[in-house]
Symmetry: C2
């Protein structure tokens, strides 16, 4: 055990990127997931430097809300988990919403799925948004130093960004400027200076322009058309998703709508003819969702359990026979409409399927396109 | 005019960041917006090097889909606009969905609102997703070189990332690695190596875990509760938004739902008592939206025009009297419920209001919190 109470890393699979001296490598037994680790700590099965724990707790700047799921939150609080016990902290500081930092760090964490998921290697992220004065900024960085956290920042104000870098260097906090290199790249490419204005600044051009209102309209349109309602409006949609129940049409629709597209979705139900208007729209706008039989069955079983239905018989919602028949029913409609793109959503996250659909939606033009892409004009 | 047919930059407001020699600064007259510039070009009012244009057109790898709004798209095609005529191109290359690159570059473009919006300085972005082999990567970078574009990339595979850097350097394409520094920072902080696996790779841990399904559930819950439906379910929501019509409850709800929170929204309608269940939920979960009278009136006028209603009288939907009375009605309810946070949404974008709400939602705990933040555990 090292001085911070973590088990020393074992000798297998040495990291190729050297760890900094102030951030000792950690690895907990693969038998202990993050919650069982907490329990093990309380029960004394794993030893911990209690002095360190007590000191660190007092400095914890955020309550332990693990967000996104209420029960995860409860578990965390009940377990009395703290950043420095069995995890590392990542601070994200923004003078705006902070969503860019959150999005980028989440994407990067995808490169550490194995240690995070399989090796009980918890990471705590703390997102500080609307940090628009230096005093608050320095307070956060001091806190990061105490927690031995690293710090990402997206600060539009160049003087804030400079202060962040200097304070982090001074306090020995590993820091990465997420937005700076991107802004500098664009500035150099366009040959104009960035405004340096934060989102909340008075001088910022307001984002509530036509494009913004069209995005709002797209979201409202999408919600109204959900689940096959108002088939007479299908012609007004940019994108129409079709598929059997539990292929993810609704979440996918709202995700794509957030990007400004009017999306309608039409469920394919065994023995029910899809609305005639569906076959009148441009085929390139229609996307059929397909999924592997066993995966759909498993998803439906979970869903049925949640709803408290689906108890017996082969013709039940998650029954093999009905699921197979419904998929066949959908497959036949797809076969009759070769102009529709059919997307396999098996094991795909919403954002992955959305990326596939939008690339196809923007593809297929008259040009000598070598590689399909999504183009926009600002 | 320089060799590429752009007006030379004038002497005012020199950029503080030096432009690279291969990317001449451009500035078109502030009297010409991006579309009128296209028209001016066609009419001969602005001269252009036709040879350059023709050559560039042949190499354009993407059709000019300006996305997000169908009519913007149509205009672009009709105008025969091409990247190199009166705009600069930005390429984004990803071996995954590409959303991180898109999100980050959009955020950075917010620093150039003045040249983009007020000075008719169009920028074209091209997002290439699922670029998983080197051949395709090099093809895209060659294209970028021909279009004198710059290139951002988010490539999880380190050998692809290295190739992108080398090819860009070799071909004189200004490039910025968006994801690399973030991944390296985390690797160094955690003391573990990144997997190097792309989103589509077989070895990637599947993201369809419990948290993922809860996110889906949150989205479905949110859509079902939209616009005050099912008031009996308010107790099940994580967050409840209340406010008069056109304060943006619906788009805000779906945006927050995408982040995994169950959101319900309840409209406040003049003279209609809100559902009793609203007053039974924890006040910290309820967020009242307020907005400036004149701004709401303007939004409602636009909305009424779209719907083709709201023709006469002071008691009409956008009438000064009704709008004022409704806002007063809401303000009185807010005053009676001091535990609710009241958020001013005037001129705020959805993502901005969402950032304010989620910070408040995660704040107010028992700890000695110095700066409020949103914490998560991975």
């Amino acid at each position: 055990m090292n001085s911070r109470g973590h088990p020393e890393p074992d000798s297998e699979s040495p990291p190729t990127i050297p760890s900094s001296p102030r951030t000792p490598r950690m690895k907990v037994s693969s038998k202990l997931n993050r919650w069982s680790m907490g329990r093990a700590l309380r029960s004394g099965a794993v030893k911990i430097d209690r002095q360190t724990l007590r000191t660190d707790n007092n400095d914890n700047p955020c309550r332990q809300v693990t967000s996104e799921e209420a029960d995860r939150k409860t578990s965390a609080i009940e377990d009395g988990f703290r950043d420095d016990v069995a995890g590392k902290s990542i601070y994200m500081v923004s003078d705006g919403t902070g969503w860019t930092a959150e999005h980028s760090v989440n994407a990067a964490l995808g490169q550490f799925e194995d240690p995070l998921v399989n090796r009980g290697f918890p990471v705590n992220t703390h997102l500080f948004s609307w940090v628009e004065d230096e005093e608050k900024l320095i307070e956060i960085i001091k806190q990061a130093a105490k927690q031995k956290a690293m710090c990402f920042y997206t600060l539009a104000n160049p003087s804030m960004s400079k202060s962040a870098k200097e304070a982090c260097d001074l306090l020995g906090v590993l820091s990465v400027d997420i937005l700076g290199p991107i802004i500098q790249g664009i500035a150099s490419h366009l040959g104009v200076s960035p405004s340096g204005l934060t989102r909340g600044a008075a001088g910022r051009v307001k984002t509530l322009n036509d494009a913004y209102f069209k995005r709002i309209e797209a979201i409202e349109f999408t919600i109204k058309q959900d689940d096959g309602t108002l088939p007479e409006n299908l012609g007004k949609a940019d994108i129409i998703l079709v598929g059997v129940s539990r292929t993810g049409k609704t979440p996918l629709s709202t995700y794509i709508a957030q990007k400004g597209y009017k999306v309608a979705n039409v469920p394919f139900v065994m023995g029910v003819e899809p609305p005639k208007t569906l076959f009148d729209v441009e085929p390139r706008k229609v996307f059929g969702l397909k999924i592997q039989l066993v995966v759909l069955q498993a998803i439906r079983r979970t869903r049925a359990k949640t709803l408290g239905v689906d108890t017996v018989g082969e013709n039940r919602y998650s029954g093999f026979d009905l699921v197979r028949k419904e998929l066949d029913f959908a497959a036949k409609i797809y076969a009759k409409n070769p102009g529709w793109a059919v997307i396999d959503v098996t094991n795909k996250a919403i954002e992955e399927t959305a990326a596939v659909i939008l690339r196809l939606y923007h593809d297929g033009s008259d040009s000598s396109t070598s590689v399909p892409c999504i183009s926009k004009r600002f």
